[in-house]
Amino acid sequence: MNVSKVGQLMASLSLTVFVVVFSWNISYADGKGIFASKNCGSCHQIQGPAAEKTFEDQQKKKGPELWYAGSKFKKEWLGEWLANPTAIRLLKYNSVTEKNTEKHPALSKKEADEVADYLMMLTAKEVPVGAVTEAVNPQGKNMFQKKYGCVGCHSIKAGAQKVGGVSGPDLSDAGKRLKGDWVYAYLKEPKVFKPVKRMPIFVSIINDNEMKTLAGFVAAQK
């Protein structure tokens, strides 16, 4: 191979890299632009850390935080949900007495994918990537349903039926939506992700190994 051939190869390689990075950047930038132009930020916090300190701070919020969306959600789900949103919280946000009947703003499939690209960039360093194995396991099920009573506030599938409480987000298909590593971090670092919430703090009630097993079980519900 002579020098000019190598040069050509290098040039085309770097062009490819450039085009890939550039177009990905456009998609990211477009997603950010769409998020801004659709006013999504009026209901969703996209910059950490968590700011709420009192019940009132939480009650004033109009939607869940998205500043760690990239650590929390599975990307495929995110793109699909944004184009075709369905209720995740069965009760209205911040309510314990009213059913959630609100229609979440929907995006076109193209916009949804671009916004998903953007949101997936928002990650939190507190989520230990690869800590949890997502798998249905009898220990996790026992903890969820019996030992720690998660089912009192969260619905889940039990055979063909759906059972459980409604004040926490529906977890019956959490495995499509949530990353196991994030569920673990959420249990382990309650103050980082959601300092004021109706869910009890389980740190030092559930030990670290159990938390991982439980998180793996939750993130395998489909």
Partner: protein, 132 residues
């Protein structure tokens, strides 16, 4: 200069650590506010044990009733069976701590001891009873 910066960082860090490990709500709340925020999910707005988690159909959600009925906090018959210490233990450690259903969750890492005592007094007002 570097020394001062180091000390400053250590100070910031320790305040941070304290803020993160300190249990309980970091702001002053009345027992009634705590009850409304946490307990009503299951025990209901009026304390009768008919919150949305216990009876989803009442709020229009098609899910079966909770397998155990949350205690009716307004019932003197039921609440008289418990001493104040029983109530504190149930709130702090959940059903598991008092040989009851684990659907009653543990609040000992969420609320301070003082808040749990205040809630116990609040429950006594709801049942208008003193306990055994």
């Amino acid at each position: 200069m570097i020394m001062i910066r180091k000390m400053f960082l250590i100070a910031v860090f320790s305040v941070g650590i304290l803020a993160f490990t300190g249990k309980g709500t970091a702001f002053a709340v009345s027992a009634e506010e705590n009850y409304k925020f946490y307990c009503t999910q299951c025990h209901g707005m009026d304390g009768k044990g008919e919150g949305a988690n216990a009876k989803p159909k009442v709020v229009g959600i098609d899910l079966p009733e909770m397998s155990v009925t949350p205690r009716n906090h307004t019932s003197p018959e039921d609440m008289n069976k418990l001493t104040d210490i029983d109530i504190e233990n149930a709130i702090s450690g959940g059903g598991a701590a008092v040989s009851k259903s684990t659907i009653m969750p543990p609040w000992g890492k969420t609320l301070t001891e003082a808040e749990i005592k205040d809630l116990t007094a609040y429950l006594r007002k709801l049942c208008k009873c003193k306990g055994k």
